[in-house]
């Protein structure tokens, strides 16, 4: 037993780790119990095939939930899909879920959607749990005080076969954002700012614990937006300590504890929150008042600037960075030293597991009413789940989007990674509420992505160019 002075508390990460650590493996990693496993069609078929090959069963099938999101068309949903590969993948997922006894939220369920939106929406994502999914944006679930890992297909196989995985313990970096965010600055700006400042690999080896005034005030959906992009900063996991906001969100959801179980669960969840004097491996502080609407200009999410800033000039940058900056500017066809404001766009994409939730569409709808997308701009709005889509329609939000010239689509990942028919063409530049601006990410090898908040996407769609939403909507 290690001696702990009374003032030395533990982090949520340590507490959750302790609850789930089974044993140390010979190579020093931990065999970690995964309480909740989420599955989608792209990274799971090979895992199920491996199980069959090895003659293994799914060890705890009721702890795995599946849905279809990556390849799903968002316009025409009649089966068979026009893309035979996509059609084969959805059929494979159905077959695997039936054969292995896994709950599957199919198209007809009304609960289908992006796996990271469906989990929270259904109350499957809960505090103090471990969650794994074959998708790097699994960190989203950390918004509830869960420790959530994106994993590869072999690990999906491991979790299916054993409900555990091999992983090394992470260090914990506390990221405080204190003060008040200026008007027109959103959760998306906060995480883009954090990644810009700490770097795309700054989080290697860490779980990020987000806290401070801004996170205390954030809604669950805002917390999810931030946790979602932890991996873009190199952090394998990111989380926010559970509080009243968390419990209020979870109350009454389909898989949330009910009746007498609810009170017990809340007491347990509270106990997982980091202690006031928890010891962190690192602490970083940001001042909320300094953050402006932030947009990426390059080919990774760390290459970001405030909307008021100018593009970098490689010649004046540290020598170590010049090649990267030049490559990014060339791909983006942007001129060094120019303002990003005023850059023409051709496509606007609103959706994804980062910003495809009800509050994202509600916030944008406030500004879209009575306005219209600029001529020639293709603007698509893709709700993150059938639940989000239905809620928007009940509030008349779909009508506002349609009247403003947006295409109103069905739920899926869509143009975030363009595995379905929603793709950029040629070197189109897309104002996007998604999470990655890698070369070719949105389906065209020469396509260009500028990441920003949903309201900034709407502003760009209306202006036909990247613009400061605070001015346009003033």
């Amino acid at each position: 037993m290690v001696f702990r002075p009374p003032t030395m508390g533990r982090t949520l990460f340590e507490k959750v780790w302790e609850t789930h650590a089974i044993r140390e493996l010979p190579n020093g990693q931990t065999q970690l119990l995964i309480g909740t496993h989420l599955v989608h069609e792209v990274t799971s078929p090979q895992a199920f095939a491996m199980l069959r090959e090895l003659g293994l069963k799914v060890a705890y099938p009721h702890r795995t939930f599946a849905t279809v999101d990556h390849i799903i068309p968002t316009d025409q949903r009649t089966e068979p899909f026009s893309d035979p590969l996509a059609d084969a993948m959805i059929k494979e997922l159905r077959k695997n879920c039936t054969e292995f006894g896994i709950t599957y939220f199919d198209l007809a369920s009304g609960r289908q959607g992006i796996v990271h939106i469906v989990g929270p929406e259904q109350g499957i994502t809960q505090p103090g749990t471990t969650i794994a999914c074959g998708d790097s944006h699994t960190s989203t679930h950390g918004a509830f005080g869960a420790i959530a890992f994106g994993i590869g297909t072999s690990q999906v196989r491991d979790v299916l076969a054993t409900q555990t995985m091999a992983i090394g313990k992470l260090k914990v970096r506390r990221i405080n954002v204190n003060g008040k965010l200026p008007a027109g600055v959103y959760a998306k700006d906060v995480i883009l700012h954090i990644i810009r400042k700490l770097g795309v690999n700054g989080g290697n080896g860490f779980a990020y614990e987000y806290g401070g005034d801004v996170f205390d005030r954030f809604t669950m959906e805002e917390r999810m937006t931030v946790c979602n992009m932890s991996i873009e900063g190199g952090a394998r996991a990111g989380y926010v300590n559970p509080d009243e906001t968390t419990f209020a969100y979870l109350h009454g959801r389909p898989y949330s504890p009910k009746g007498a179980e609810w009170k017990k669960a809340v007491r347990r969840w509270e106990s997982y929150a980091s202690d006031p004097y928890a010891v962190y491996d690192d602490v970083v502080n940001f001042d909320a008042a300094e953050i402006e609407p932030t947009v990426t200009w390059g080919i990774n999410p760390g290459q970001a600037i405030y909307i008021s800033e100018r593009l970098p000039v490689p010649e004046t940058a540290p020598e170590d960075q010049r090649a990267s900056l030049t490559e990014a500017l060339e791909h983006m066809k942007l001129r060094p030293g120019q303002p990003i404001k005023g850059t023409p766009i051709q496509v606007a994409f609103l959706g994804s597991c980062t910003n495809g939730r009800l509050s994202d569409f509600q916030e944008v709808a406030k500004y879209l009413e009575g306005r219209h997308v600029a001529p020639g701009i293709k603007a698509i709005a893709v709700p993150g789940s059938q639940g989000v889509r239905i809620a928007c329609q009940e509030l008349g939000i779909d009508r506002i989007f349609r009247e403003a010239g947006f295409e109103w689509r069905e739920a899926g990942c869509s143009m975030c990674l363009a595995m379905n028919p929603d793709k950029l063409v040629g070197d189109q530049l897309c104002a996007s509420s998604s999470n990655r601006n890698f070369k070719g990410r949105q389906g065209s090898p020469t396509g260009r992505t500028v990441l920003m908040s949903p309201v900034m996407v709407a502003a760009a769609a209306i202006a036909g160019e990247i613009t400061d939403a605070r001015d346009l909507f003033a």
Binding site: P26, V42, T43, Q155, A161, K439, P445
Partner: protein, 199 residues
């Protein structure tokens, strides 16, 4: 499960210069539409190698002097981005058997190790020298010694490091954890019975 002990990797090098080479670049998302990993090697770095009409672009993968290379050498934060195991699968199935870089994306690192594809870290300065040597002498063989933590590159040698857990797993033939995880079955059952949440 008896796995090969991976102590050394020897071969010529394929340079992929630059930092932050992400998994979308390693294997574009459209090639993830598959229910098996077979044949993925063909699409490795597809959009770096070919233009929209399928014509080869200037790229080290299209240069004959790098044919048959088994060690990929890159820069900082190699394999950042998505969790797609398709990325290391494509690298492995193309015929590469190790990656040397300044640092790696976390999930890519784990996925690669699980396939028995060692990810070796070298310093930025040493990588610059290694890239220079590859350019001037593409057929020079490199030997990575995982146990010793060294890279021998002709008459030049460089320190190399591999995260201890990955090194242990690779050199002792334990890189695929499934067998060990299954051995813990009894302990898992016991813990599962105490787990306070269930569905």
């Amino acid at each position: 499960m008896a796995l090969k002990e991976i102590r050394k990797v020897t071969g010529t090098c394929l340079p992929i210069p630059g930092d932050d080479i992400d998994t979308d670049r390693i294997i574009p998302a459209r090639y993830l539409k598959c229910v098996t990993f077979d044949g993925l090697g063909e699409f490795l770095f597809y959009d770096v190698r070919f233009d929209e009409n399928g014509r080869p672009k200037p790229c080290t993968l299209n240069e004959p002097q790098y044919n048959g290379a088994t060690i990929l050498v890159s820069g900082r934060n190699f394999g950042c981005g998505s969790s797609r195991e398709h990325a290391p699968q494509a690298i492995y199935r193309y015929g590469l058997r190790a990656v040397v870089a300044e640092s790696f994306g976390e999930i890519f690192f784990g996925n690669s190790t699980t396939l028995g594809l060692p990810c070796i870290t070298a310093s930025r300065e040493d990588l610059a020298k290694i890239h220079q040597i590859i350019e001037s002498e593409p057929k020079r063989e490199m030997t990575i010694d995982l146990a010793a933590g060294s890279i021998q590159f002709g008459d030049a040698s460089f320190p190399a490091s591999v995260r201890p857990s990955a090194r242990e797993a690779l050199i002792n033939g334990r890189w695929d954890a499934l067998g060990e995880l299954l051995e813990g079955r009894k302990l898992v059952e016991e813990r599962m019975a105490q787990l306070p949440y269930r569905f």
